[in-house]
């Protein structure tokens, strides 16, 4: 029987992440065992916590939403060879912009306001991506360092606004006023926090897939990521492509922030992103920088986050154990990625990991 080559390619691509996950959980079970809990009990409580009932599963999807969008964004930057670790700040800026729009344009009807809020999030995130892109193109400055700095600057900028000019009038807590109900992203299942953002994210997956695989722009961006010199000889404007990639990357993270505000919190709170931007780096790598792979890895990552809370309730094992397991997973992904492609045709991730990136 002939196995279609597409399916075979996919199956081969899925091997390293799955092996990595299994190994990480095995190592994690040693830690669980060391604190005197049965790993089976712990992992079962995690599974129950994530998929035990409809409500917990909707929570997984709620947490999957920002990871998916920010992870998609990071995959574009990485594919261009630019190591952006700025998703966290871009999420914050996107959320802040959405709150502004939702508050000051609250008189607009929902069908108009919701698309505007998505756009505002995209633009604010994109600006936060263009800055390091521009500094790289003009001054040769490290994208890594500047995106890190911008994460902190965004964090304090948000705190400044919710303690100062954008603080809820007469309120006690450092938070912005509640946005207009016209700006709320409607929930899909009443009684849960699941909002339409998950559809926005899935549309983004398809858009990114088409952009990167089937448009000249996407091909140019990937080409810059594979070989800058050759791209330059072919007449591609390398610097411009990197700025564009970082703009898209930031914009998608910005939409993630928009959903957190308009779909969940309905106002800006300090630290509302809860490290989604950092986790998104791991999500992008686990998904092998492919839009469809990132859907799966974001789902997995979100399930771990939700399941970890239940595990802590049931077994008293701290949530941070799951962070350790997540990091171990990526260790093994990196290792297996380099092994699998030794001497063979390299995958996108492999090319990215191996070459000297624009650090």
């Amino acid at each position: 029987m002939e196995i279609p080559s597409e399916v075979r390619k996919l199956a081969i691509a899925a091997v390293p992440p799955i092996v990595a996950i299994v190994l990480a959980f095995l190592l994690g079970s040693i830690l669980i065992f060391a604190v005197g809990v049965s790993p089976i009990v712990a992992y079962r409580s995690m599974l129950d916590g994530a998929f035990g009932n409809i409500k917990s599963f909707t929570e997984v999807l709620v947490k999957m939403y920002p990871l998916l969008l920010a992870g998609l964004g990071i995959s574009i930057a990485f594919t261009a060879g630019a190591i952006s670790v700025g998703a966290e700040g871009q999420i914050l800026m996107g959320g802040l912009a959405t709150a502004f729009v939702g508050t000051y344009l609250g008189f607009l009807p929902a069908p108009l306001l919701i698309p505007i809020s998505i756009m505002a999030g995209f633009l604010a995130g994109a600006v936060w991506g263009i800055i390091p892109g521009y500094l790289f193109a003009k001054k040769g400055l490290s994208v890594v360092i500047n995106t890190i700095m911008l994460n902190y600057i965004a964090h304090y900028l948000v705190n400044f606004f919710i303690n100062g000019p954008f603080k809820e009038p007469g309120g006690y807590y450092p938070q912005s006023p509640r946005i207009s109900e016209n700006a709320y992203w409607p929930s899909i299942i009443p009684g849960t926090r699941l909002h339409i953002g998950i559809f926005v994210a899935l549309v983004a997956v398809i858009c990114v897939y088409i952009l990167m695989k089937h448009t000249p722009l996407g091909v140019k961006i990937s080409s810059v990521g594979v070989n800058q010199k050759a791209s330059r000889y072919m007449g591609i404007k390398v610097e411009k492509m990197i700025i564009i990639a970082l703009a898209f990357s930031g914009g998608l993270a910005g939409i993630a922030g928009a959903g957190e505000i308009a779909g969940i919190h309905h106002r800006v709170l300090s630290g509302f992103s809860s490290n989604y931007g950092w986790d998104a780096i791991a999500v992008a790598l686990l998904g092998k920088l492919h839009p469809f792979g990132i859907v799966l890895s974001a789902l997995f990552w979100a399930a771990l986050r939700v399941g970890a809370n239940n595990m802590q309730r049931v077994t008293q094992i701290p949530v941070s154990l799951v962070v350790t397991i997540q990091a171990l997973t990526i260790f093994f992904v990196l290792i297996s990625e380099m092994w699998q492609h030794k001497g063979k045709l390299a995958s996108v991730t492999h090319t990215f990991l191996k070459r000297k990136s624009i650090s």
């Binding site: 830690l31 604190v35 190591i83 670790v85 500094l135 001054k139 040769g140 400055l141 490290s142 890594v144 360092i145 500047n146 890190i148 700095m149 911008l150 902190y152 600057i153 304090y156 900028l157 705190n159 400044f160 303690n163 100062g164 950092w278 780096i281 791991a282 790598l285 701290p318 941070s320 154990l321 799951v322 962070v323 350790t324 397991i325 997540q326 990091a327 171990l328 990526i330 260790f331 990196l334 290792i335 990625e337 380099m338 990215f352 990991l353 191996k354 070459r355 000297k356 990136s357 650090s359």
Partner: protein
Amino acid sequence: MMGLNVSLFSLLFLSGWIASSIRLMTILLLGSLGAVFTARSGITNIGIEGMMLMGSFVAVWGSYTFGNPWIGVLLGGMAGALVGLILGVLSISVGSNQVVSGTIINLFALGLTSFLSAVAFGTSAPSQVPSLGIVPVPLLSKIPFFGPILFQHGLLTYFAVCLVPVVWWIMYKTPTGIIIRAVGEQPEAADTLGISVPLVRYSCVLVSGFLSGIGGAFLSLGQLSVFMENMIAGKGYIALAALVLGKWSPWGVLGSSFLFGAADALQLRIQSMGLLDIPVEFLQMLPYVAAMVALAGFIGKAAPPASMGKPYIKSR
């Protein structure tokens, strides 16, 4: 009379500010001096943050367990070196992207230290442990004005500053330094001469990990005497910015670490004294903005060691 008061006040402000700048500089200097080794051997070390975090936790644990803060410092340094070893495995032996490896290492250190501290100390209030004190230098600390600024610090602060000329000497005046820099600039050529590129790079990540670990220990035992989740809070990244701003050289990172320490000290002072009517958040932002502006304004197109960021794969 008024004028005298103001000048006396500003003099006190100045001496207090510089003294705390030096204190806050210490962790950055230890981190960036270590990173001089990794950078010169051709490795971008994003993992400083994780090395420091691991060092700060293990130092507190060691001090708590053995009742001696210096055992804590030593263990903290070794824990940092262990994190360096993991970075080495990923970015030297496996040949994976160095920035990605470092980022994941920071995630790993964050998870593991939080998990271990919850297991070791419980989630309740963090316990105080034997900590490092201040050791005034005899005689010198009595000098008016300069004494309290320069000679009333912890031993690790003196150690960090004294390390600057030592690292400079190693890098530029010894065969070891020539080998390290050769590996960073021309790994192929170094390899041809029979130098083991992986061995040199592993040694450098170990040194960097050890120094960053000690830096973390200085924060947890020298300044706060507790461990708190994610207590490094980005200082490892600032140390990395100091490395770039200091152009990958020991004297350069002394200057840039001091600059970042001073920016941090200034925001703490202005904040606590309520001197200026500036929103606190802008002051807190200052070190990060300073880093970006300084990088964009002062160094322009910088030239890092030629092979930095590139995994070296021996071709057969």
